[in-house]
Amino acid sequence: MKVIGKPRRRVDGRAKVTGQTRFADDIVLPRMAHCRLLRSPHPHAEIVSVDVSRAEKLPGVYLVLTGEAFPVSFGIMPVSQDEYPLARGKVRYVGDPVAAVIARDEQTCGEALDLIEVKYRPLATIASPAEALATAEPRIHDYGPQGNIHRLQAYEFGDVEEALARSDHVFEDVFFYEGNTHLAMEQHAAVAAPEGEGGVLLYSSTQNPHYLHRQLARVLALPASRVRVVAMPNGGGFGGKCDPANHEMVVAKAALMLGRPVKICLNREEVFYLHRGRHPVLMKFRTGVTKDGRLTGVHLQTLLDGGAYGSHGPASTFYTGVLTTTTYDLPRFKFEACRTFTNKPPCGPKRGHGTPQPRFGQEVQLDKIAERLGLDPAELRLRIVAKPDSLTANWLRIGSIGLAECIRRVVERSGWKNKFRKLPEGRGVGLACSAYMCGAGLPIYWNKMPHSGVQLLADRSGHVTAFCGATEIGQGSDDVLAAIVAEVLGIAPEDVRLLTGDTGLTPVDLGSYSSRVTVMMGNAAMRAAEQLKARIAEAASEQLGVAPHRVEFAAGRVFVAGDPSRAMAFREAVELAEAKFGTLGTVGSYSPPKPPGRYKGAGVGPSPAYSYTACVVEVEVDKATGWIAVHKVWIAHDIGRVINPVLARGQVVGSVYMGLAEALMEEQAFRRLPPKLSSALVHRIPSLLEYKSPTALDMPEVETIFVEDPDPNCPFGAKEVGQGPLLPVPPAVANAIYDAVGVRIDELPITPDKVLRALELKAQGKTPRVGPASFPAVPYPKPVVVPPPWEGGDGNEVKRHDAAAVV
């Protein structure tokens, strides 16, 4: 291959280092007005009245909007359409948008916001999942199974209690993973402008222009054909730009009402309120094992703090369980999950979406199991790695799996065998593994259309233009698209012009989420490119005097196989094809395989392929201060096939960085204001200075290893690399700390104070562990019972104890 697998400057590299890349806030349009939002100072309150009359009179103010302007709700998931662009009737967290001012400049907007008078009647605040479970009234929302519970799910794949009863050991552990936020360096921005007859064009820093397009049409009550969304290159996404957002709806409406462009750019404090980040999750694992370390069954219970709105919550809730089965042989699995509403910024998808939390619990528990059984944790995992081309207990189809090789490589490169339980006191190594999806098997809204489409146009200039709805968020989706088209057509990636992320001009791609772009857009691009190649080959074959199947494409030439002297330039071949066939355009589209599971809820978890990762972390713990220094990280990722090694490595190291950040410092935490203020539940400190994230000085060396086990469902065999490598990092850190100083910290982030507390317990002869003490009673419904594939059945549920099992 000429392009795939070769280190290259990314096709948008020059633009990114010269300041030419245009982000949403870089757009300036003639007559453009500016917008700012008024946000709630109360965590939970009824809105008694909103008086905008003084704000409207301020010179330079063009428009003031309130919830009255927006009667239609929205939300990314069809089952959770629970947000309004501006609050109607009540506010649900500090930061909930209440009103909007559109004015000649941001300064005037700010002055006008101060003139809006809102009267609130405060309601009791629901601050935590425990409070949500205990509080029937007031309800944050008037939907959901009961009180302040948003979602309840329960599934049983085989009789887990029976499996645990005949196990040699049963391990029961409770873990907590604190919430954290994406912290993309670019603050969300959007510019809306009127377009055509009554239509609107929205430029936005969004990862999912297609879903935003649908939600905008709904909220604005416009035909979707009159709404166009252009996803600008995102200044980092990480899941934080997946949800359609209030501010996008507001500027679109304002542009239509004013007949002029309107821009908004959130400030950093507002980005913390928009959030949609990692859910705080409390979880309990009960795991049965044989004395030689084979798993017999897992009973997993999770409890999510969802914040004030649904967001991706129903999917997030599933993801705290469904991928538990994909790494190791697991004959039986029971999974119960609950998402609660609380009066905090809404949680949603962040890199790994719902899966880093249970992965942390599962991999730390495996470390405990290995120790009890006297097994090396790497050896234990190698014995139980899931089989390729197999089904899991919950009916997910696994294709290629390079996990065993990943484990062997990090063990070898890290010198694991000479370090584990052998380093001096205070130093230690830890190992963990993980799996992730290469794209969600089902779209967010039910439909039978393709998940990704690519359209190619070739003309006599010799240039090929690729149109695709995929969104460049920094991960390199544009580069993947160019590379795949170029490889098939034998041209340079720079000879592929790209037009991406524009719902008015490009075929639908569902968006940059769930690590789906390389596989889905890539497959669609291959199909379109193969067709284009066939047409060009047919025309060229006449001139070359051979059968079309003997025409080859490479290095910008089209030639006879085995006789490169009989050749023409790619451009000449395109001319012949354009003469023969007329204008040259082809399309390719991709839909993932039908998931094997047939029970209700089987749609979350299936994927065309799964990536696998193994990681070793070496730490040093200062016993006097509790300070944890990470010395080095070795990480091996089963990527199927590397498309551009420069970008792939960047995704791995970036994932390690974000995993370390979540393991050691980041937390989206809350506090109560003093009673003399309002006692309101507020974000602890919504600033980049106080939200601790790693700097260049905190980042250790990372050794990245790629394992290439090409997957037949993927373009050139390439699997995902953007999210999976984050997953094993936090548990590997926790396991390394145990190796270093013999204490278990069963909750993230692992901060020095927790280490010191555990060391103190150890010194007192108590259990040297810091973490949640117990798991509360949650009113899970009776489970949906689905036999695993090896216990018969066809992937359907066999009986429903309770019609409310999936709510």
């Binding site: 290259r8 990114k16 300041g19 982000f23 360096m185 200044g235 980049l688 994230s693 060396e701």
Partner: protein, 183 residues
């Protein structure tokens, strides 16, 4: 007119400054409250300089003022009267990328590219002071620039590579093949 309204008018009254921006002398008039960041982006159309907080916490807006890295969100534009300002737009010479830009593009130091202009300017100031800095010095120099994508590793490597190319030493990493590899 009440006091608040008078204040608002005063705030918007334009002032004039003479700046040397990327080597070009220019007169700019702007509202007196504006930061250098705002004047660059809004009044001069130099949107290559980014913002991540406007509170001096992230480093995305770093530019060089008289050769020194400064957070342009914390500098009043008026303070720059008569001074020289360099931004990412001034790095390349015509169509030829600065060695730092070429190395960043070749070695994956820019993913989303949002923190990149600030880091490029910070690195330029570093290399002008210390033509061949150690890895540790590079880490210190850019520790005020937050990057969420890269985990910093490819940024260190790109700065080291640029230092080599600038000192005339052949780089250890070849510029990549194909059109995109041309500096």
């Amino acid at each position: 007119m009440n006091a608040a309204a008078e204040g608002a008018v005063r705030l918007r009254r334009k002032v004039q400054a003479r700046l040397r921006v990327n080597g070009e002398e220019m007169e700019v008039s702007f509202a007196s409250y504006k930061t250098l960041l705002e004047v660059l982006r809004e009044d001069l159309g130099l949107t290559g300089t980014k913002h991540g907080c406007e509170l001096g916490e992230c480093g995305a807006c770093a530019v060089l003022v008289d050769g020194e890295p400064q957070l342009s969100c914390l500098v009043l534009a008026l303070e720059c009267d008569g001074r020289s300002v360099e931004t990412v737009e001034g790095l390349a010479r015509g169509g030829e990328l600065h060695p730092l830009q070429a190395a960043f593009a070749d070695l994956g130091a820019a993913q989303c590219g949002y923190c990149t202009p600030g880091i490029l300017m910070t690195a330029k100031a570093l290399l002008e002071r210390e033509p061949s800095p150690s890895r540790e010095r590079i880490r210190e120099a850019i520790s005020g620039n937050l990057c969420r994508c890269t985990g910093y590793e490819q940024i260190y490597e790109a700065i080291e590579e640029a230092a080599k190319r600038m000192s005339g030493e052949p780089g250890t990493v070849r510029p990549s093949q194909g059109e995109g590899g041309r500096p």
